[in-house]
C-alpha cells in the first residue's frame, strides 16, 4: 500500500501537474493586444476636400474631375499609370517561360474566360474611363478614375457596358467634396463582385464583409479590428501590397499576416513551429463563403440551350442561379471547406496561346508552385474552381468567346446565343485563328483563401489534420504529418510482432498448464 502511494506521489502526480501547467500556460498575447491598440486609433484626414476652392462646383465630364485632382496631387497621375490596377498587366519572371507581361489584360480565367472583346462590360471594373477596346490610351492620366477608389460619399457608381464611365446624372459636387482614403466599399465595388456577382469568384471576398460579424471576419468586423482593406494591403505611391494568383506570378509585394502578426504570433511554441510549414490561413480560415455561397463550378458547355426557342434560367430554393442559357451550369457552395496545397508564392498561367496537348484531359488555368522539398513553400488553403471551357479541337487552344455587345447580330454570346459566332468573333478580335471546330474541356483554377479569418477559438484543432482518416491535409502526402502519415512496413511488422508475442505467450502458458495437469493426475 505504502509502495503504491509513494509511486502515485512521485510519478503520476508530477506528470499530471506538469501537464496541467503546460496546458494552462496561455500567456497573455501582448503582441495581439498591442496591435489592437495600434489599430484602434482612427485615421484623421489631413485635408477636408469640401474646403478646396477648386471643388466648389459641379462637373459634367469625369475626365475634368481627374484633371482637377491632378492639379493638386501633381505626381499621383504618373504613379497610377505605373500601377497594375491601371495596366492589368505586370512584368514577372515565370519558370519555364522567362519574363512575361501578364494580367487581366491578356489572361484567361475560369469564369468569363477573359476580357478581350468584352471590354465594354468587363472594364466597368477598371480604374479608368473608356477602355472600350485595345485603342484605349493607357498613357493619358486624365483617363484615370480617381473616384472609384477615393469616393467616400458612397454615391459614386459606374455604368454597365460603359467601360468604366460613371452612370449619368451623379451629383459630382457632393461626391468630390467627400474624397478620402479608400474604404471597404471602394475596394469591394469591384473585388466583391468578380466573376459577375457577389462572392462568385473569390469566396472569401463579398459584400457581407461590409457588415461582417466577428465570426465572419475578425479583421473587418466592427466587433473586431474594424480594419479597412488598405490596413493590410499597405500602399505607398499607389503601389499596394497584395497578390491574386489568378493574374500574378511572382513572390513579391504580397500582403501577409506576418506584416502585423510577425512570424511568431502564438504564445505556444509548437504552433509557431507549425508556421514554418503551414500558412496562417490554413488553420485560421477553416471555412470560407460563410455568409453567401460562392461559385465552385461553371460549365460553359451547356450554354445556349433554349426552351421553346427562348433562353431560360433555373434558380434553386435558396436563390442560387443553377442554369442560365447565356452562361451554362453552375454549382454553388456556402461554408466551403478549402482545398489545401503547397505554395511558394510563384505561379504559372495557362495562356490563350498555349497548346493543349492531346494527352491533357484537363487544363490548369493557373498552377501554384511549391512542394514539401521547397523551403519557401507552405501549405495554403485554396478555393478549387472547376469549369468546362470552349477550345479549338484543331488548333488546340482555349477560345475566348465574345460575350457581350450593345446590340444583337454582332456575334455576342449573351445577346445572340450562338456559340460558333461568339467564338469566331472573340478570336478574330484577339487576332488568333479559329478552325471552326470546337469542343469543351475540363478546367481547374486555384484561388487563394486569405480573408474571412475566424476567431482563434474556431481555428482548426490538432485533430483536424492529425488524424488517420479524413483529415484536412489528406491530399498532402509529401511531408510527415503525425497521425496521418504512416510507414506501412513498420506498422505491419509491429502489429505482426505484437500478435506473435501474444500468441507465443498464450501458447506457452497453455502448454505449461496442460503439462502440469498431466503431471498431477
Amino acid at each position: 500500500m505504502k509502495n503504491i502511494a509513494t509511486f502515485l506521489l512521485t510519478v503520476v502526480l508530477p506528470i499530471v501537474i506538469i501537464t496541467i501547467m503546460l496546458r494552462d500556460a496561455t500567456k497573455d498575447n501582448t503582441l495581439l493586444d498591442n496591435l489592437r491598440e495600434e489599430y484602434a486609433i482612427p485615421h484623421i484626414p489631413s485635408v477636408d476636400h469640401s474646403k478646396h476652392a477648386e471643388l466648389q462646383r459641379d462637373f459634367d465630364d469625369p475626365h475634368e474631375i481627374t484633371a482637377t485632382c491632378i492639379s493638386c496631387h501633381t505626381e499621383r497621375g504618373s504613379e497610377v499609370l505605373a500601377n497594375a490596377h491601371w495596366n492589368w498587366e505586370r512584368e514577372a519572371y515565370i519558370e519555364g517561360r522567362g519574363v512575361t507581361y501578364l494580367g487581366k489584360r491578356n489572361l484567361v480565367n475560369n469564369f468569363c474566360t477573359g476580357i478581350l472583346s468584352n471590354e465594354a462590360t468587363c472594364n466597368r471594373c477598371h480604374i479608368g474611363y473608356g477602355w472600350f477596346d485595345d485603342g484605349f490610351d493607357h498613357n493619358n492620366p486624365y483617363n484615370i478614375d480617381c473616384l472609384i477608389c477615393h469616393d467616400n460619399s458612397g454615391l459614386y457608381d459606374k455604368a454597365r457596358g460603359m467601360a468604366g464611365y460613371p452612370v449619368p446624372g451623379l451629383d459630382f459636387q457632393t461626391i468630390v467634396q467627400q474624397v478620402g482614403r479608400p474604404e471597404k466599399d471602394n475596394c469591394g465595388y469591384c473585388h466583391f463582385y468578380g466573376g459577375g456577382g457577389n462572392n462568385v469568384k473569390h469566396g472569401d471576398l463579398e459584400n457581407a464583409l461590409l457588415n461582417a460579424s466577428w465570426e465572419t471576419d475578425v479583421h473587418m468586423s466592427a466587433e473586431g479590428a474594424n480594419l479597412e482593406c488598405i490596413d493590410c494591403h499597405k500602399t505607398t505611391n499607389h503601389q499596394m501590397l497584395g497578390r491574386y494568383y489568378g493574374v500574378s506570378s511572382d513572390n513579391t509585394m504580397r500582403a501577409t499576416c506576418e506584416e502585423c502578426h510577425t512570424s511568431l504570433p502564438h504564445t505556444t511554441k509548437t504552433l509557431n513551429e507549425h508556421a514554418v510549414t503551414v500558412a496562417c490561413q490554413t488553420c485560421h480560415i477553416p471555412v470560407y463563403a460563410k455568409v453567401n455561397p460562392t461559385k465552385m463550378h461553371w460549365d460553359w458547355s451547356t450554354a445556349t440551350d433554349r426552351i421553346d426557342g427562348e433562353p431560360y434560367e433555373i434558380i434553386d430554393t435558396l436563390g442560387n442561379l443553377l442554369y442560365t442559357s447565356i452562361k451554362g451550369d453552375f454549382h454553388w457552395v456556402q461554408n466551403a471547406i478549402p482545398g489545401y496545397t503547397w505554395f511558394n508564392g510563384t505561379a504559372d498561367h495557362h495562356l490563350i496561346s498555349d497548346v493543349i496537348s492531346e494527352n491533357d484531359s484537363i487544363i490548369f488555368i493557373n498552377t501554384l508552385f511549391g512542394d514539401a522539398a521547397d523551403p519557401g513553400a507552405r501549405i495554403y488553403p485554396v478555393k478549387v474552381h472547376t469549369g468546362r471551357q470552349p477550345y479549338d479541337t484543331e488548333y488546340r487552344t482555349i477560345i475566348q468567346a465574345k460575350l457581350w455587345d450593345q446590340q444583337p447580330g454582332m456575334g455576342a454570346l449573351w445577346v445572340d446565343l450562338e456559340w460558333e459566332e461568339a467564338l469566331a468573333a472573340g478570336m478574330e478580335y484577339i487576332g488568333m485563328p479559329f478552325s471552326g471546330e470546337y469542343d469543351f474541356i475540363d478546367s481547374k483554377m486555384f484561388l487563394m483563401i486569405n480573408h474571412m479569418v475566424s476567431p482563434a477559438e474556431q481555428a482548426l484543432q490538432c485533430e483536424d489534420c492529425h488524424t488517420r482518416r479524413g483529415g484536412r491535409l489528406t491530399a498532402i502526402n509529401d511531408v510527415y504529418i503525425p497521425a496521418q502519415t504512416t510507414n506501412a512496413a513498420i506498422d505491419h511488422f509491429g502489429v505482426i510482432m505484437l500478435l506473435m508475442a501474444t500468441a507465443g505467450v498464450v501458447l506457452h502458458a497453455l502448454m505449461r498448464f496442460l503439462a502440469r495437469k498431466k503431471r498431477t493426475h
Binding site: 509502495n3 509513494t6 509511486f7 512521485t10 510519478v11 503520476v12 508530477p14 506528470i15 506538469i18 501537464t19 503546460l22 496546458r23 512570424s263 511568431l264 511554441k269 509548437t270 509557431n272 513551429e273 508556421a275 514554418v276 484543432q461 490538432c462 485533430e463 492529425h466 488524424t467 488517420r468 511531408v479 510527415y480 503525425p482 497521425a483 496521418q484 502519415t485 504512416t486 510507414n487 513498420i490 506498422d491 511488422f493 509491429g494 502489429v495 510482432m497 505484437l498 508475442a501 501474444t502 507465443g504 505467450v505 506457452h508 502458458a509 502448454m511 505449461r512 503439462a515 502440469r516 503431471r519 498431477t520
Partner: protein, 214 residues
C-alpha cells in the same frame, strides 16, 4: 528438500526505478500510439503534452538510474555471458513443461539469468537509447529559441518517426513477453512479489533434483 531462504534482492531504489520505468513506458506507449493515429483517447493535443512530459520524467529517471548502476556496481549484473544461455533457452522451450529445475540459480550477486542479462542489456544500450534519441530528435526537429525557429538539422521526420515507432513496437513486444516470463519463477507470483517487496525466497543450497514440488 532444498533449503529456501528469504533474501533482500531488490533495493528500494531499484524497485522504484523498475516500477516507474514500467509505468512510464506503458504510458508513453499509450500516448505515443495515440499520436501515431492508432486510436483516440486523450485527444491529440493532450496526448502530445502527456507524452512529452512523461518523456522528460523518463529521461530524468534514466539519468538517476545510470548513476545508481555505477555507484552500486549493479551494472555488473548485466554483463552478458554465453555460459548457460543455451540451457536457459532449452529450459523455456522444453524443461519448463517437464518441471525441470531452473538451469541457473538466482543469487544476490547474479540476479539475472543469462537470457535476462542479454535482453536487459539490449534494452539499456540499444532500445531505450534509441527511443530517447529518436524521441529527442522528434522534439527538436524544429524548436523555437530566442525568437527564432531553429531546426536540429536532422530533418527527415519520416525517418525519425519510423525509428521511434519501430522502437515502440519492440518495447511493447518486450513488455508482453516480460510480463509473462515473470510467472515462471518458483511460483507464479514469486518474481512479482520480489519486485514489489524486495524480498524473495531463494535456494540456499542445491540438492538433487526435486521433481515433485507442489
Amino acid at each position: 528438500m532444498k533449503q529456501m531462504k528469504m533474501v533482500y534482492l531488490y533495493s528500494r531504489y531499484e524497485r522504484f526505478w523498475h516500477w516507474t520505468q514500467a509505468f512510464l513506458i506503458l504510458f508513453l506507449a499509450l500516448t505515443g500510439f495515440e499520436i501515431h493515429g492508432s486510436y483516440r483517447l486523450f485527444g491529440f493535443e493532450n496526448a502530445v503534452h502527456l507524452h512529452n512530459n512523461a518523456a522528460y520524467i523518463l529521461i530524468v529517471l534514466i539519468i538517476f538510474t545510470i548513476f545508481w548502476h555505477f555507484t552500486t556496481g549493479e551494472w555488473r549484473q548485466y554483463l552478458p555471458t554465453g555460459k548457460n544461455l543455451k540451457a536457459q533457452l532449452d529450459y523455456y522451450i522444453t524443461g519448463i513443461f517437464r518441471n525441470a529445475p531452473h538451469p541457473v540459480k538466482k543469487t544476490i550477486l547474479s540476479k539475472l539469468n543469462p537470457m535476462q542479462r542479454l535482453v536487459y542489456l539490449g534494452l539499456k544500450i540499444i532500445f531505450i537509447p534509441v527511443m530517447v534519441l529518436s524521441g529527442l530528435a522528434y522534439m527538436l526537429y524544429r524548436y523555437q529559441y530566442d525568437g527564432v525557429i531553429h531546426s536540429s538539422g536532422f530533418n527527415d521526420l519520416y525517418l525519425i518517426a519510423s525509428i521511434h515507432t519501430l522502437g515502440a513496437y519492440i518495447l511493447l513486444a518486450f513488455v508482453i513477453v516480460h510480463v509473462y516470463l515473470i510467472t515462471t519463477g518458483h511460483s507464479l507470483t514469486s518474481n512479482l512479489r520480489a519486485m514489489i517487496t524486495g524480498w524473495e525466497a531463494l535456494e540456499e543450497e542445491t540438492t538433487d533434483k526435486e521433481t515433485e514440488q507442489k
